[in-house]
C-alpha cells in the first residue's frame, strides 16, 4: 500500500533540494541587511566609498540572490508534485503562510531587487536607500512566513481534523501566527543568516587585508561585519531555538534525542558534553556530563525532569492505542449516513488528537484498527528520530555558534583599535572561517527537520504517508535531474563568486 521506494526517494529529494536552497537563502538574508547598513552610512555621510562598498558587495549579493530565487521555486512546487497527500491533509493551514509569503514578502523583495541593481541613476539617494531597505525587509519577512509554516509542522497549533473532508482545518489563525516555536525559529534562523552574511564579508575583507589590497575599502567592510556579526551571533545562541523546545511532544523527543537521554534522569538533568549513542542497545557509552546544565536550559528550573526516550516512547504508545480508537471510529463515520451515530462521533472526538499516532501503524499494517501489540510497540518506537545524527549535529552546530561569537568579538576589538595589521594570524583565521557558517546552518537544518521525523507534521501526519502516490520512475527522474542540474549550477555559481572576489572592487571599476 505504501511504496517505500517513493517515500525514500521523495525524502531524499526534499532534503537535498532544501539543503541546497539553504546554501543561498541565509546569505541573501545577511547580505541584504549589510547592504542596507552600508548604504545608510553612504546616505548619512555622503562618502562615496560607502556607495562603492554597497555596489561591490551588491554584485556578490546578486550572484547569490539568483541562486536563492532559482532554487526556491522548486521548494514551493515540490509539496504539490511529491507530497500531494501532505498538501491535501494540511493545505488548509500550511498553504496560508506560503501564500502570505508571496503576497507580503516575496513580491516586495523581487519587485525592488531589480531597482537595487538598475535604479542607482533613476531614483534619488534616499529613494535608493529605501529600495535597498525594502529588499532586506522583504527577504526577512519571507523567512518569517516560511518559518511560521515550518513552525506549524514542528508544533501544530490552531487546527482540527474534519472527518467530512478528511484533513486538518484551521481553527485559529492567531495561534498559528503566534506559535512560540515559529517565533523562536524565526529569530534563530534570521539571526543565523545575518551571521552568515557577516562571516562572508569578514572573511573576504580579511583576505584583501592579508594581500594589502583595497585597505580602506576592506577595513570599513570588516568593521561593519564585525559589529553586525557580533550582535547577531550572540542573538543566535542566546535567543536560539532552545526556547521552542518546551512545546509539543516531538520537541521533547527532539531534546531527548539530541541529548541521547534514554532514561529520564532525576532533575536537574545534566548535559551530556560527549558520548557515543548506541541505538541498538538504547544507551550512550563513555558519557562526559556537565551537572545541572540540561535541566536549566530545557526547563529553566532545577526541579522539572527532562523526559528521556523510554518515557516518551511509553507516552507515544498510549497515544497510538487511543489513536486506534479514533481511526476505527473515523472508518465508521466515513461509511455512515448523516447525521452520524452520536456514540461513534463521541468516540472519534474524544480520541481525534491522537489520530496521527494510529497513522504511524500504516507502516506496519494495512489496517490500524486490528493492529497487534507488537505492531503498536513498533509504531511507538518509530517516534524516536535518529539519535546519533542529532546528537553530533547539535554539538557541531552549538560549537560553531560559540566560535562565531569569539571570532566576532575579537574582530570587533581589533576593529575599534585599528589593529588588524599587527595580527595577520587573525586575518588568516577569519579567512579560513568562510565555510563554517554554511556547515553550522546545514547541520542546524538537519537537527530541526531530520529531528522532526517520523513526522511531517508532529503528531498529525507521518512523513511516509505524506508522499504523492506517483511512480518510482518519476521520482528517480526528477531526483537525478535535480542532482545533475544543481551540481552544474553550483560550479558556475562558485566560479563567478571566486572570480568576482579575485577581481575585487578595483577590478570591477568600483574603486
Amino acid at each position: 500500500m505504501i511504496d517505500f521506494d517513493v517515500v525514500t526517494l521523495s525524502r531524499l529529494q526534499f532534503a537535498l533540494t532544501a539543503l541546497y536552497h539553504f546554501l543561498f537563502v541565509p546569505l541573501t538574508l545577511g547580505l541584504s541587511m549589510i547592504l542596507f547598513v552600508m548604504e545608510s552610512v553612504y546616505v548619512m555621510t555622503g562618502r562615496v566609498i560607502w556607495k562603492r562598498m554597497t555596489q561591490y558587495w551588491g554584485v556578490l549579493f546578486g550572484i547569490n540572490f539568483a541562486m536563492g530565487v532559482a532554487t526556491g521555486i522548486t521548494m514551493e512546487f515540490q509539496f504539490g508534485t511529491n507530497w500531494s497527500y501532505y498538501s491535501h491533509y494540511v493545505g488548509d493551514i500550511f498553504g496560508t503562510p506560503l501564500a502570505l509569503e508571496g503576497l507580503v514578502a516575496f513580491f516586495l523583495e523581487s519587485t525592488f531587487v531589480g531597482l537595487f541593481f538598475f535604479g542607482w541613476d533613476k531614483v534619488s539617494k534616499i529613494g535608493h536607500l529605501i529600495i535597498t531597505g525594502l529588499v532586506a525587509l522583504g527577504s526577512s519577512l519571507s523567512a518569517l512566513w516560511i518559518l511560521i509554516a515550518n513552525g506549524w509542522m514542528q508544533h501544530p497549533v490552531g487546527a482540527r481534523f474534519n472527518y467530512h473532508t478528511m484533513r486538518m482545518e484551521l481553527s485559529s489563525f492567531s495561534e498559528v501566527l503566534f506559535n512560540p516555536v515559529a517565533q523562536a525559529k524565526f529569530v534563530h534562523t534570521v539571526a543565523a543568516g545575518y551571521v552568515m552574511g557577516s562571516v562572508f564579508v569578514l572573511s573576504i575583507s580579511a583576505w584583501y587585508l592579508l594581500r594589502g589590497r583595497n585597505v580602506a575599502f576592506a577595513k570599513r567592510s570588516l568593521a561593519v561585519a564585525a559589529s553586525f556579526g557580533l550582535a547577531c551571533s550572540i542573538s543566535v545562541v542566546v535567543l536560539g531555538d532552545e526556547s521552542g523546545y518546551l512545546d509539543g511532544e516531538n520537541q521533547k523527543m527532539k531534546v531527548a534525542s539530541i541529548e541521547a537521554e534514554w532514561k529520564t534522569a532525576p532533575p536537574p538533568a545534566s548535559f551530556t558534553l560527549f558520548g557515543f549513542p548506541d541505538v541498538a542497545a538504547r544507551t550512550t557509552h563513555a558519557e562526559v556530563k556537565i551537572p545541572w546544565l540540561l535541566g536549566l536550559i530545557a526547563t529553566r528550573s532545577i526541579d522539572q525532569p527532562v523526559l528521556g526516550i523510554y518515557d516518551l516512547v511509553a507516552r507515544a504508545r498510549s497515544r497510538v492505542v487511543s489513536g486506534i480508537e479514533a481511526y476505527s471510529a473515523l472508518q465508521q463515520l466515513r461509511g455512515s449516513a448523516e447525521p452520524p451515530d452520536a456514540g461513534v462521533l463521541q468516540r472519534f472526538e474524544g480520541n481525534q488528537a491522537d489520530l496521527g499516532y494510529a497513522l504511524l501503524l500504516l507502516r506496519f499494517t494495512d489496517d490500524p484498527a486490528t493492529a497487534t501489540s507488537q505492531q503498536i510497540d513498533a509504531a511507538a518506537w518509530s517516534t524516536v528520530p535518529n539519535v546519533p545524527v542529532l546528537f553530533w549535529c547539535f554539538r557541531l552546530m552549538v560549537g560553531l555558534g560559540l566560535f562565531f561569537i569569539a571570532l566576532f568579538a575579537t574582530a570587533f576589538y581589533f576593529a575599534t583599535r585599528h589593529r588588524f595589521e599587527r595580527h595577520p594570524w587573525f586575518l588568516k583565521l577569519a579567512f579560513f572561517s568562510l565555510p563554517l557558517p554554511w556547515i553550522a546552518i546545514e547541520v542546524g537544518w538537519i537537527v530541526a527537520e531530520y529531528g522532526r521525523q517520523p513526522w511531517a507534521v508532529d503528531g498529525v501526519l507521518p512523513t511516509f504517508l505524506g508522499v504523492s502516490r506517483t511512480s518510482v520512475g518519476n521520482v528517480w527522474m526528477s531526483l537525478t535531474g535535480f542532482v545533475i542540474f544543481y551540481s552544474a549550477l553550483a560550479v558556475v555559481d562558485a566560479f563567478l563568486l571566486v572570480r568576482t572576489i579575485r577581481r575585487g572592487p578595483e577590478g570591477l571599476g568600483y574603486l
Binding site: A70, E76, Y85, L103, F118, L170, L465, R469
Partner: protein
C-alpha cells in the same frame, strides 16, 4: 464565518482570484517569457541582445512572483487542486521548474563574462527558460480539458495513475502552441514598445506571425471542443456550500459539454470574442507601428484567453479521466470557509499595495532602450 459571507460565494470569489493571478502572471511574466523565447532571433549581435534583455532584467523577477503567488494561493485556497494537479502533471511541472530555474541565473550570469561562448550558452538557457514554461503551461492547461488520471483512496489520498504520454495528446500539444504563441505575441509587442531599431522591426514581424498562429490554434481548439472533445458535466445535485469532499457527486462525459456554460450564459461569449479581437487588433497595430496599442491589445488577449478557458471549465478545476465522478470542482475542492475568508482579507489588503508599487517601478523604468543609450540602462547586476 458564514455570517460575513457564505461558503459558496467565497468559493466563487476564490475561483476568480485564481483567474486574476493567472492573468497577472500572463500579462506581466508573460512578456518576459515571450521575449526570452524569441530574443535571439530579435537580436543578432551581442549589443542588440543586451538591449533586449535590459528591458526585462529589472522587472522579470517581480513578474515571476505572480506565478509563485498563484502556486501559493492554489495551495492555500484549493489544496486538493494543488496536490492533485502538480503530482498528476509531474513531468510537465518538473520541466517547468528546471526551465524557470534557468532564468534567474541566466539573467544575472550572462553579462558576467564577455566570452562569446559563455554568452551563447546563456542565450540558449534563457531561450529555453522562456519557451519551455510558455509551452508546457499551455499543455498543462489543455490537460484540464482532457482530464488527468486520478482517484482517491479510502483515506482521501490522491492516486495518480497516468503516464507522461498523456501530456503528448494532440489537444494538449495544441494547447501548448496556443500559450506559446500567445506569450510570444505578448513579448514581441513589449519589445516593439521598449527597444529601438532594428530589433523593434523584427519584433513587429514576429508579433504578427505569433498573432496569426494564435488565432488559428485558438479557433481550432474551439472547434475541437465543440465538435469532438468529451466535456464534463455534473449530473447530480451539488451542495455549493458542502464540505470539500470530491467523491460525493456523479459526473458524465458528453461531447461538447465544455460549451455548456456558453449556452447557459451567452454573455460569456464575450471572452473568446475579446481574445480574437485582441489578436486581430495586435496584428493591425503592429503593422501600423502602433506598439503601445499592440501591447494593450495583447494584454486583452492574455486576459480573455484565460477567461475563455476558465468559463468553459467552470465549475470544474481538475477533471479525472479515470474516475470522472471524483473530479475536482469549485464546490468540493476548496479550503475551509475560514481559510478562504482570511486569505480574501489578505488579498484585498495586499494586492492593491503590490499593484501600486509594481506600477511605480514600471514608471521609473519607462523609456525605450536603443543601441545608443544602452549603456545608461545596463545596471550593475
Amino acid at each position: 464565518m458564514s455570517t460575513l459571507m457564505d461558503y459558496a460565494t467565497l468559493r466563487v470569489i476564490w475561483w476568480l482570484i485564481l483567474g486574476v493571478l493567472l492573468m497577472g502572471f500572463a500579462i506581466t511574466d508573460g512578456f518576459d517569457l515571450g521575449l526570452g523565447a524569441s530574443f535571439t532571433y530579435l537580436g543578432r549581435t551581442d549589443a542588440e541582445r543586451r538591449a533586449l534583455l535590459s528591458t526585462i532584467e529589472p522587472v522579470w523577477e517581480g513578474n515571476q512572483v505572480w506565478f509563485v503567488l498563484g502556486g501559493g494561493s492554489a495551495f492555500a485556497a484549493w489544496p486538493l487542486l494543488y496536490a492533485t494537479s502538480f503530482s498528476g502533471l509531474y513531468l510537465a511541472m518538473f520541466l517547468v521548474l528546471i526551465a524557470l530555474i534557468l532564468r534567474p541565473v541566466g539573467f544575472t550570469y550572462r553579462g558576467k563574462l564577455t566570452d562569446a561562448r559563455w554568452r551563447a550558452g546563456w542565450d540558449i538557457a534563457l531561450t529555453l527558460g522562456g519557451a519551455l514554461p510558455a509551452l508546457l503551461l499551455g499543455v498543462a492547461f489543455a490537460n484540464l480539458f482532457l482530464g488527468v488520471p486520478f482517484h482517491f483512496d479510502n483515506l482521501q489520498r490522491p492516486v495518480v495513475t497516468g503516464s507522461f504520454f498523456s501530456l503528448l495528446h494532440p489537444f494538449a500539444l495544441l494547447g501548448g502552441i496556443i500559450s506559446l504563441s500567445m506569450l510570444i505575441l505578448h513579448g514581441n509587442t513589449y519589445a516593439a514598445l521598449k527597444v529601438g531599431e532594428p530589433m523593434a522591426a523584427r519584433a513587429r514581424l514576429v508579433g504578427r506571425v505569433a498573432a496569426v498562429v494564435f488565432l488559428l490554434t485558438f479557433l481550432g481548439a474551439g472547434f475541437w471542443v465543440y465538435s469532438a472533445l468529451g466535456g464534463y458535466e455534473v449530473t447530480s445535485v451539488m451542495d455549493h456550500a458542502g464540505p470539500s469532499d470530491p467523491t460525493r457527486k456523479t459526473v458524465a462525459i458528453v461531447t461538447g459539454a465544455w460549451l455548456n456554460n456558453f449556452r447557459l450564459w451567452p454573455l460569456m461569449w464575450a471572452a473568446p470574442v475579446c481574445a480574437v479581437v485582441g489578436a486581430l487588433g495586435a496584428y493591425v497595430s503592429l503593422r501600423a507601428q502602433h506598439a503601445g496599442a499592440a501591447f494593450m491589445a495583447s494584454i486583452l488577449v492574455q486576459g480573455a484567453t484565460i477567461l475563455t478557458g476558465g468559463f468553459a471549465l467552470f465549475p470544474f478545476l481538475l477533471p479525472s479521466s479515470t474516475h470522472p465522478s471524483q473530479s475536482l470542482t469549485v464546490w468540493d475542492a476548496s479550503s475551509s470557509a475560514k481559510t478562504l475568508l482570511l486569505m480574501l482579507a489578505a488579498v484585498l489588503v495586499f494586492l492593491p499595495i503590490i499593484l501600486a508599487y509594481t506600477g511605480w517601478v514600471f514608471k521609473v523604468l519607462r523609456g525605450r532602450v536603443t543601441l545608443e543609450n544602452l549603456h545608461d540602462h545596463e545596471g550593475g547586476y
